[in-house]
Amino acid sequence: MSIDSNLPLSLDDVSFDAGGERHIHGISYDFAAGPRTVILGPNGAGKSLLLRLCHGLLTPSTGIVQSTGRQAMLFQNPIMLRRSAAANIAYALAINGVPARERPARVQMALSRVGLEAFAQRAARALSVGQQQRLALTRAWALEPELLFLDEPTASLDPAATRAIEQAIDDVHNSGAKIIMTTHDLAQARRLADEVLFLHHGRLLEAGAADMFFSRPKSREAAAFLEGELLW
């Protein structure tokens, strides 16, 4: 597969070894800018690993990960610094070279985008998990990334908080960022995905349009997974 530098993200034969074992096997894929991509698979399939390889938190043992543009990532558990909600966002901006005079306005906008303006001076860690995840999302969003990774972003949240996050993800997508997320919640995948990558035992078994995947999966494992019968 050739590497097209216009794409936000491209994987060429990427593998990852750890502890003497190969956990990701030769995955190649070109991620296009538009569609919301959801990576599905049973536990231990390597979804989180793959996400971290794409984001650069891990180095592939073989192959090339190529990307252009700024990236950000949302983790399953929001990780907040011991400072106010506003200060957390300001910190992210500062790290990325945003000049001090621009930060207050951008922080304010970031908080309003997810309805957290009232909590600006509240200690971030004192917010509920749902609020913290929203804060983490808008913090990542404030960096104006071209690519936003989300690793099981609602796995720790209740249905109401989940809805709020999904709404926010939609907003981020509409503002022009490419979404790549993992989830084990099939219903959520059906709601959000434009494109699905199906992983099993570290291999990319299927990749394509979401409606095609859900209605007519090509592989035996995918079919079993959709039936809820592929546990690992």
Binding site: F75, L81, A92, R139
Partner: protein
Amino acid sequence: MDELGEAFATALGLIVAFDADLVEIVGLSLQVSLSAMGLAAVVGLPLGALVALIRFPGRTAAAALLDALMGLPPVVIGLLVYLMLSRAGPFGVFGLLFTPTAMIIAQWLLITPIIAALTRQVIEDLWVEYAEQLRSLGSTRLRAVPTLLWDGRHSLVTVILAGFGRALAEVGAVMIVGGNIDHATRVMTTAIALETSKGNLVLALALGLVLLTLSLTISGSARMVSR
């Protein structure tokens, strides 16, 4: 143990009367140990954080060295500082021997490793928690140093207090480099040692109780401020 009862009474009497000598030695104890604590924090906090975060050859040895230096006996440090500051020594020309400055230097040497080693552990533990998120946001390990130092401030207050407590309580180093000179370099611990050697046990114990009260008050206030 009726000495203890007498000592309480004596201590109370000295405090209430604002005994001039007592005020003087308490003041000097605080001046010396607080200064040493401040300087040790200035060096020890960044040093500990750097050893925790930055990968460099010999890093494991550096961490082990800091841990080991926590156990340096104060009297040995006192002797080494004396040899350096003595007129016959390399830094004698500054004439620092038998001054509070020499005492601050000795205590600073004593507690910097303590603060550095404990900071290293605090920051290491924080990095485990934060590494992915901070790297995702674009932070380098170096850039994370001030971030984690601030984030760990509650634990680090305890670390600094540990250093301060060690300094306030030690007698070996300040005795040698200070000389326990009346109205010049006498602090609480050297005064206690002196009164004990003179057989004035009740007075020594009373001074000890004052020192204890001082320690508790300072730790308590620091806790309240950091809340």
